[in-house]
């Protein structure tokens, strides 16, 4: 009898285990964006995770059907996310063209310029996240160096498209401005320099001992898990899943230019990081090829009709598969626009991976996921 009651008290004690709760966000240095995690930790080991991703919900999907006509839509969705703005404007324009029925008539030069915009966007995003990852590991020096080199890409964007962040170069029916010959030359010159800094980045992330020891084996996502949770983008490719919407959808010229997919098998934070670094090489190559393959010429076609079909477009944003759906009814505004952003697909696996990780490894782990909360909230 006595032992029984003793057992009971022990049971109660175990049940009422008190965890230290560490809130992470919505304002935090490691995260420029508002996302909130609540970690229940024991001895700094995370046991339970709650997340709140809706701080950025603005209602863009509704605004696209009530406030802006379809010609303005690409510029609006560019503001879904400032890091992958070009990646948003392109599928939006493409999906509108498909809903009108003119997507096959888009000139090759326009397609090439769209690809250049997307790849420059991807380059700066990958530089950004790798630099930021180094910073949250407490490695400020690498952060500063990578971001110094990132300014070269920002300058390129500024020169080609007239803005550092929001390019707004893609419109329904083509692109707004061409890349003249002299700018092409500057672009090709700069790409060589950028390639060198990508090499520097690769060296850092493969050779530096403290950084590698910090990231290796952190937050492993196996291939089965990646498939089961349907994760996308560099994260999936780091786990060995062969998926890349650049070859799966046909809005661009990627298939013609011989696109090579970068995959790794490890699935840890370091692999995710290295996939991003190696994709930079591929992006640079694509930009070069895209310039070479097309000549200056027609860059847009006249859009006379309104969207009247249902259409989808999948695009590879820097963070992964970006999915657009539009239902047009022949009016000036579409009936429904659905944006499925890459981070929305990568969020469900976060609690799984973060469990039993030490709290001091949480910021690098989270950053290696490359979450974009502005995308997620819309």
């Amino acid at each position: 009898m006595a032992s029984e009651s003793k057992n009971k008290t022990r049971e109660i004690q175990i049940k009422e285990k008190v965890y230290t709760t560490i809130p992470f966000g919505s304002q935090h240095v490691a995260l420029p964006e508002p996302i909130k995690f609540i970690f229940d930790t024991e001895n700094e080991i995370v046991k339970e995770i709650k997340f709140d991703i809706a701080y950025v919900h603005r209602g863009i999907e509704k605004a696209l059907t009530t406030m802006f006509d379809f010609r303005k839509a690409p510029y609006v969705v560019g503001r879904v996310c400032g890091i992958c703005s070009a990646a948003h404007t392109i599928p939006c324009a493409v999906v509108m063209e498909r809903a009108i029925g003119i997507d096959r008539e888009i000139p090759d030069r326009a397609k090439a310029i769209r690809m250049i915009a997307l790849e420059i966007n991807r380059l700066q995003s990958h530089f950004l996240i790798n630099g930021h990852l180094a910073e949250v590991c407490g490695y400020e020096n690498v952060f500063m160096h990578i971001w110094r080199d990132r300014e070269m890409i920002m300058d390129l964007a500024d020169m080609l498209f007239g803005n550092r962040v929001q390019y707004d170069v893609v419109c329904v029916g083509g692109v707004n401005r061409d890349i003249p010959k002299d700018k092409e030359r500057v672009l090709l010159d700069k790409l060589n320099e950028i390639e060198k800094s990508v090499e520097f980045m690769e060296k850092i992330f493969t050779k530096d001992r403290t950084l590698v020891s910090r990231l290796k084996g952190l937050g492993v996502v196996s291939k089965e898990m990646a498939l089961e949770y349907g994760i996308v983008g560099p994260m999936a490719r780091a786990s060995g899943v062969k998926t890349d919407c650049r070859v799966e959808d046909d809005w661009g010229l990627y298939k013609d230019l011989g696109f090579e997919m970068v995959t790794m098998e490890e699935g840890d934070s370091l692999a995710r990081c290295l996939v991003r670094v190696r994709e930079c090489y591929e992006s640079i190559r694509i930009i070069r090829e895209a310039i070479k393959s097309t000549e200056e010429g027609e860059i847009s076609i006249k859009v006379t009709a309104n969207p009247k079909y249902e259409a989808v477009c999948r695009n590879e944003a820097p963070r992964g598969e970006l999915f657009y759906y539009v239902k047009g009814t022949g009016g000036i505004m579409p009936d429904r626009v659905r944006i499925r952003t890459p981070t929305l697909a990568n969020i469900p696996i976060l609690p799984e991976v973060m469990k039993d990780v030490s709290y001091n490894d949480i910021p690098p782990l989270l950053m290696s996921f490359d979450p974009c909360i502005a995308c997620t909230g819309r």
Binding site: G230, E248, Y309, E310, R314, F323, D335, R340, L344, I347
Partner: protein
């Protein structure tokens, strides 16, 4: 119930129409993580009737699939998050945005108590 071919009016994807009762079976039938990639959940409201839509991608043929089922306002919609594990986030999202009563939803996941209720709904408005 049979897979509709891509035809005029629908571009770049094919549609599977089903009913609310059979949608779980249908998805269990087509969904296999190795061959089919889950894209997302969506809903649609034309003013009279609502529709729940699940988007998938057949990996080998790169065909986007749309599984959709119509239902009435206020009807309880089954969740598929036990079949397709990552579905819960987007299910809760559209549950909030359309005011759909999806199994296991969390109130105010995307909206805030001060925001308008079910902003994407057209017919049968919910009060604030």
């Amino acid at each position: 119930m049979k897979e509709l071919p891509p035809e005029k009016g629908i571009r770049n994807f094919s549609v599977i129409e089903t009913t609310l009762e059979k949608i779980r079976e249908k998805i269990r039938e087509i969904y296999d993580p190795k061959k089919v990639h889950y894209i997302g959940v969506d809903a649609y409201d034309d003013g009279n009737k609502m529709e729940i839509r699940y988007w998938f991608l057949k990996k080998e043929s790169n065909v986007v699939l749309l599984v959709k089922a119509p239902f009435d306002y206020g009807e309880k919609v089954p969740s598929i998050s036990d079949i397709v594990k990552p579905a819960f986030v987007q299910e809760w999202e559209i549950a909030d945005l359309f005011g759909i009563n999806i199994e296991g939803r969390v109130e105010n996941f995307f909206l805030t108590p001060e925001s308008p209720r079910a902003p994407l709904r057209r017919g049968d408005k919910l009060g604030k």
